[in-house]
Amino acid sequence: MNLYDFIFYFFAALTIVSAFFVVTTKNIIYAAFNLLLTFFGVAGIYVLLGADFLAIVQLIIYVGGILILMLFGVMLTNKITNVQIKTEASFVIPASIGVGLFAGVLIAILLKTEWRNSPADIPISTLVPIGKLLMEEWAFVFILLGVLLLIALIGAASIARKE
């Protein structure tokens, strides 16, 4: 087992185990912190796949942004309302149907894709190609996305204003 294998199995185990806890734990805070580990594990796997930019973005946006936002939400609302922050299994039947369908799709994709099984090269950075693509080929979409986010920002600010 060489170093890359070792690291891969470590991150894979981390992702799966913590994801399992996210689903099973009854305490929302535990779920949120386990989600942190899941994100982290996924980021690690991205790095091993040579998608370093994706990994960093995963960390910045999911861990630094979304997870913190969720934690803020849970922590700040917990004591105000009297709702217990415990999750419970509800809507078991519709949920299992939905999950079953989704799992079917995932497995189908898994089986149909032609995976590249070439030995791992030393990962080269994807940063420059991604930047080129964004700025040249997909510049319009990129700008549109920027405008969309700007609108969201302005919207959030105007909702947060007093009057």
């Binding site: 060489n2 805070i29 912190f33 960093i56 861990v63 630094g64 997870l67 913190i68 803020f72």
Partner: protein, 356 residues
């Protein structure tokens, strides 16, 4: 570089990876001992006191004595605290700071991981610190700790924005996010440092200087804020929140926060140094070049990097013992009304200059 050296020496990649990973830890421990002593001495002398004088020459062994003391302390967990998260939080905070050391270019021969995305990587792992701080605040089940944690998270997230803007300025000028490349671009004398316009040719260099300088100041202010130091130490404001998110901690767990705080101080200083002040490059050239001993150069580079880093750590201490703490609204006003607009305008001007 150093990885191959150890891999050849030991014949095992895994073993050499472990050694490489442990080297920054050694550095952190030595540095924390030094910085802790320095902090006490600087604070004491700025207030016309002497500080620790008894343990060793001018008390230089005091941090070691304190470390031994803290190791013996009882590990108290409050009754209503969430045990698991309470124990995990200091580890998470320390891991976040420690992980940042992986990308710091100590010298051309010793970079833990020569990442193409070094700058962004350091930003990314610092978000783990935020999660750890929130975890600590929550797990302590203490209102001071929770308020401290929420303040800290809000502060770090807010001040990340001007930091990213300034990083964008640097990217525009240098065209890279790699901290080693960034340092290499600033080789030669200090005239090539990015704070003096970098290796850009002609009149642009002079046009860049003031904006680089503004960028440097904005970056430094927001990095001080990100490491939760005075004047931005609202998360652990003694006078209102006892000790913020680490109120309930004692013994070794408390020491981990201490280590993380000092390590973080160095990380942000190192970032500023790598971006604006030549990274590990010497300001004048190398003795190794002069007397033709090539292996001396990496050691000199390590020396210069540490000296520059420690200088900015010293400036943080200096600021701490000069300025009073900001109020919460002042903190947010400074970030959103001053730093972000300035950084944004700076970014626009620099990109305009570089297009010309």
């Amino acid at each position: 570089m150093i990885f191959e050296f150890f891999a050849d020496l030991l014949g095992s990649q895994i073993l050499s990876a472990i050694i490489i990973a442990a080297l920054p830890l050694v550095f952190i421990i030595l540095y924390v001992l030094l910085a802790n002593w320095l902090e006490r001495k600087v604070s004491a002398h700025m207030q016309d006191r002497l500080g620790p004088m008894r343990v060793g020459w001018h008390g230089w062994l005091q941090p070691i004595a304190d470390m031994i003391k803290i190791l013996q302390k009882e590990d108290i967990v409050a009754k209503d605290a969430d045990r698991k998260l309470f124990s995990a939080a200091p580890v998470l905070v320390f891991v976040g700071c420690y992980a940042a050391f992986a990308a710091i270019p100590f010298s051309s021969a010793f970079v833990g991981a020569d990442l193409e995305l070094g700058l962004l990587y350091i930003l990314a792992v610092s978000s783990i610190v935020v999660a750890g701080i929130l975890m600590a605040g929550w797990a302590s089940n203490n209102k001071y700790a929770l308020i401290g944690a929420v303040r800290s998270a809000a502060q770090i997230i807010s001040y990340e924005i001007p930091t990213v803007f300034i990083i964008l300025c640097i990217i525009i000028v240098s065209g890279t996010l790699n901290l080693t490349t960034l340092s290499e671009q600033q080789s030669g004398t200090f005239l090539n440092w990015y704070i003096l316009g970098g290796d850009v040719e002609g009149w642009k260099k002079f046009a860049l200087i003031p904006f680089m300088f503004i960028g440097f100041i904005v970056m430094y202010i927001s990095s001080v804020a990100e490491s939760n130091r005075t004047p931005f130490d609202l998360p652990e404001a003694e006078s209102e929140l006892v000790a913020g998110y680490h109120t309930e901690y004692s013994g070794m767990k408390f020491a981990m926060y201490l280590f993380a705080e000092y390590a973080n101080m160095f990380v942000v200083s190192a970032l500023v140094v790598a971006m604006f002040l030549g990274g590990y490059q010497s300001p004048f050239g190398y003795v190794g070049d002069l007397i033709n001993v090539p292996w001396l150069i990496p050691i000199e580079q390590f020396f210069w990097f540490t000296v520059k880093g420690l200088f900015f750590v010293f400036v943080q201490m200096w600021l701490r013992w000069t300025l009073p703490r900001l109020r919460v609204d002042q903190l947010m006003a400074l970030c959103w009304k001053y730093l972000i607009p300035i950084a944004f305008v700076n970014l626009l001007i620099i990109s305009f200059l570089m297009i010309l």
